[in-house]
C-alpha cells in the first residue's frame, strides 16, 4: 500500500506573527516554522496504516528550502521517502495553485491513498485536499478521524482492489462512517490518534532516506492565482469577560445556563 501524505510547514504555534511591509504577507525572517497540526495527524494515520498493512509512506511538501527541516522530521517519525516541490512563492499561490503543484507530483506515484490535514494553520482555506482530489480524478472524504482498510493482505505491497471504511467527524459529537474505494484522497481531522514523538534514532535514520527535489516551475502547472490576496490585518483585541453575580450557587446555575444555550458545549 502506497500512501502519500501531503504536509505543510506553517509558522510555529508560539510564533509572534507580524505583517510585512507590503501588508500582503507575514514577516518570515524571524519566525520559527513547524509541521501543520492536522498534517501531523495525517502522517500518524498513514504510519499506523503502514504498520498494520505494510507498504510505504511518502511525504510530499511544497515550499522553500526551509521546508526540508519539516520533511526530515516527518521522515524521522517513520515515513520512507519524501518529495520536495521547491517553490519560493507558496504564499502567492492560492489553494488551486498549490493543489496543482501537489497533483503534478503525486500523479506519477499512482498511490493507493493520499492523506492530508483538513486545513492549514496559517491560511486555513480547508480547500487544498478537496481540489487535489478533483485534479487527480479521485474520490475524497473530509474530516476523517480514522481509516480502516478492508480486504487487504499485508503480504501484498499494492492492493488496488481494497476498499476503505472511514470515520468522519460531524458536528455536536456525531460521526459518519463511509465505505469507499481506493485510490482516494482523505483530509484528516486532528485528534483521531495519539501522535508519536520524534526520536534520535528516527532522525539518524532519516539522514539516509531519499528526498526527491522537484522544481515548481518545471512541473508545467499554471501559477496564476484565481484568488487574489488583497490585504492582511491582525484581529482587533477585545475582552469579553463576564462576571456572573450572585451567590456561588446562583453563579453556577447561570454559568450552566450559558454553557448550555449560549456557548452550547454542554
Amino acid at each position: 500500500m502506497r500512501i502519500i501524505v501531503a504536509i505543510k510547514q506553517v509558522p510555529d504555534r508560539d510564533a509572534q506573527v507580524r505583517i510585512d511591509a507590503a501588508g500582503k504577507w507575514i514577516e518570515e525572517s524571524d519566525l520559527q516554522f513547524a509541521l501543520n497540526e492536522s498534517d501531523a495527524y495525517a502522517l500518524e494515520e498513514a504510519l499506523q496504516l503502514k504498520e498494520k498493512h505494510g507498504g510505504e509512506v511518502v511525504v510530499l511538501s511544497a515550499g522553500p528550502e526551509r521546508v526540508g527541516q519539516t520533511i526530515r522530521e516527518a521522515l524521522a517519525k517513520g515515513a520512507d521517502r519524501a518529495i520536495h516541490v521547491a517553490c519560493g512563492d507558496l504564499g502567492a499561490r492560492d489553494a488551486l495553485g498549490v493543489a496543482r503543484l501537489l497533483a503534478a507530483a503525486i500523479k506519477p506515484e499512482s498511490p493507493d491513498l493520499v492523506l492530508t490535514g483538513l486545513q492549514s494553520e496559517d491560511l486555513g482555506f480547508g480547500q487544498t485536499g478537496v481540489i487535489l482530489a478533483e485534479l487527480l480524478g479521485l474520490p475524497h472524504a473530509t474530516l476523517i478521524l480514522h481509516v480502516d482498510v478492508e480486504g487487504s493482505d499485508s503480504s501484498q505491497a499494492r492492493i488496488p482492489q481494497a476498499r476503505i471504511k472511514v470515520k468522519r467527524e460531524l458536528e455536536e459529537g456525531w460521526f459518519q462512517q463511509i465505505e469507499m474505494p481506493t485510490p482516494a484522497v482523505l483530509t484528516i481531522q486532528s485528534g483521531g490518534n495519539k501522535l508519536r514523538y520524534a526520536t534520535l534514532m528516527g532522525i539518524k535514520r532519516a539522514k539516509t532516506k531519499e528526498v526527491r527535489q522537484l522544481i515548481a516551475a518545471e512541473l508545467g502547472v499554471d501559477a496564476a492565482p484565481v484568488v487574489i490576496l488583497d490585504r492582511l490585518t491582525l484581529p482587533q483585541k477585545q475582552k469579553s469577560t463576564q462576571i456572573l453575580p450572585g451567590t456561588p450557587k446562583e453563579a453556577a446555575a447561570a454559568l450552566v445556563e450559558k454553557l448550555k444555550f449560549e456557548v452550547r458545549v454542554l
Binding site: 509572534q16 539518524k204 539522514k207
Partner: protein, 671 residues
Amino acid sequence: MLFSLSTAALPILAEPQHFSLTEKLIFSGIIIASASAFWRRFGVVLNKILHSKRDPNFHLFPLGKRVWDFFWEVLCQAKVIRERPLPGLAHAVVFWAFLAFALVTLNHCATGLGIGFLSPGGFIGRWYFYLAAVFAMFCAVGISGLFVRRFLIRPKWLGAKLSWESGFIAFLIFALMATYLASFAVTDTSLAARVLWWLHTLALFTFLPIIPHTKHLHLVLSPATVFLSRGSYAQIPPLIGDEDFGLVAGTDLTQLVSLQAYSCVECGRCTEHCPAANTGKLLNPKEIILGVRAYLNDLGPSSDQPLLGKYNQQQAVFQCTTCGACEFQCPVGIEHVPILVGLRRGAVNTGAWEDDYGAKLFLALERGSNALGISPAERDKFIQKQALPLFDGTQEYCLWLGCMGGYDPKGREIVADFARVMNYLGTSYGVLRKEKCTGDPVRRLGDDLVFQQLAEANLEALAQNKVKKIVSICPHCVRTIQEDWKEYGTPPEIEHHSEFLARFADKLPSQRGADGEGSALQVKGTGFSPYNPAHPKSPGALAPEGQEKIVFHDPCYLGRYRNVYDEPRAVAALAGTVLEAPRNHERSFCCGAGGGLAFLGEETGERVSHNRAQELVATGATTVGTACPFCNSMFRDALATTGEAPPQLLDIAQLAARALPTANPTKDHAS
C-alpha cells in the same frame, strides 16, 4: 631491660617449622586447585567487563580526585561507616584486618613451600604478627557482629531471602582469625600447631574460589570501581556516533557499567534510600544493577537482545526520580543515575517507550517552548505585569525564569519575590525576551533529540544576548545549564538563588527579633564552612518561644547534585529557627518530581510527596521552606493532605522577601 622482659613474656605465633615433601605437594595442589577455581569464574567476569564497549568519554586524569576517593572511601571506609555507622565499622575492621593479613597470608603460603620470610621469633615478624593479631581480634568480633545482623536482626534491605553463602563466608573469615589467634597459644613443635596451620590453609583456599562466584567479588572489583568512577556525581555520558542511543542492548553496556554491575555487594543501601522503593513502586535500584549483571552472565556484552524486558522492566526504569540517593549511598562506587537514565535513553531514543504523558511532554517541547505546554504569550504577560526588566547586555545577571518561574502560578510568586529582593539589594538583572525549557525533564527521561534542540537553541539565545552570569530559582535549571549543556557548548556562569541570597544575607533584614541566638546558620559573606558529616544534625531542635519554626527540605538537585546545604539554611535563618527533618542534607528524601516524573501523571503506590510531607510536618514546624519550584509544587498538594492546619509552604526567596519594606522598594534602594 623492661622492654625485652615484657616481650619475652608474650607468646609467639606457632608455625610448623618443617613440612614433608608430601605435605608440600598437597599444599601446592590445594593452591593450584583453589587458584584455578578462582580464575575459572573470575576470568569469565573479567572477560565480560573487558569486552564491553569502551567508555568513549572516560579520562583517567586528573588523578587527584581518584586517589583521594580511593584513600577515603576504600582504605578509610569513610562512606561505609558514615552512612551505616555500626555495621560500617564492623565491615571496616574486617577490611582492615584483610589488609593486615596480606603479608601474613603471603608468609603463610611461603612457609608451606619452605620459603617463609617472616620469622615469628624475629623482631619484624614477631611485631608484625602481634599487629595482625590485634586486627584479627577486631575482625573476629566484627564478622560475628555482621553475622548476627544478617541472620538474627535481618534488616529488610538485605532482602527477604537469607544468603547462606554469606553465612558460610562469615564462618570462614571467623575460622581464619580463630586459627591464627589460637596459634599463639600453642608451641610450634606441637601437633596442635600443625593442625591449626592446615585448618587456616583450608579456610583460606576454600574462601578464595568463593569470591568470584558470589557478591564477595566486590573484594576484588570495588576498589577498582571506586577508583574508576565517571568523575562526577550522576554524570550522564554523551552519546557518540550514529548508532549510540543509550543502553538498548548488551553491545551498549560500557566497561564501567559492566564493572559496576559485577561490583554490587547487594547491601541494599540504594534501595533503603530510594523514594520509589520506599513508596511501593516496582523500581528497586539494587535489582536494576543485578538485572544488568544477570544479563551479562546469561548473554554477555556482545548480545543484541534488549536490556529491558526479561532482565529489567521498563516500568521500573521510568519510576526513577533521578534523586540520586542510591548513587550517593553506594559504598562500592556504582553510578546508578547514568545507568537508569541510559536505559531510559535506550527506550526513548528508539521510540520503544510508549506513554501518553511522556509523549505529550516530548511533543510539547518538540514544538513549544516550555514543559507545561502553555503559550509563551503567558510568560510575556507575567513579565509585563511584574515589570521585570528585559536583559539587554548591560545588566550583571540574567534572571532565568524556567518553566515553573515563567508559567506556574506559585513559581511566579517565587520569581516575583526574588526580584523584589534583588531590587532591594540594587542588583542589576534582566530576563530574556524568549526562553525555552532547559531540557531537564527530557534529559532525565532520555529524549536526547529534544534535549539537544533545546540546549542548542538556549545556548544560542544566551550568546546572542551576551549573557555572562545567570541566576535561577530552579535547581533543575541550574544543574542542566551548568552540567548537561556542556555537551553542546559553553554555558554562562550560573548560580542558584540560595547561593546569591546567602551571599547578601547580612544586607537583608532579619525577622528573628533581638535575641539572635541560635543563628549559627546565618553566615556572613561568602565563607561557608563545608558540611561536616561528624557534626550532629539532630532533628527537631527546640525553637525559642514565639519564633517561626522553619523546616528546610533539601532539594535533590541543590543538595546532592550541587553540594549546597548551608546557603538556603542561612537564608531561612533570617526568618526564623531552622529545624531539620529526620532525613536531611545528603540523606534528604525526594519530593517525587525529579527525572521528569512531575509530568508523568499518577504514581502507583503511595505518593512520594505525601511520604515526605508527613515527615516534614512531624517536625512541628510552622513553615516548610523549599528552594525548588518543583518541590514547592509537589508539597502544595501533599501538605494539604497532612491535616487540618498544615504548615505554610514558602520558598527561601519568599522568606527573605517577607521582611522587606512593603512600600515600593526600588524607590529607596535602586540607584
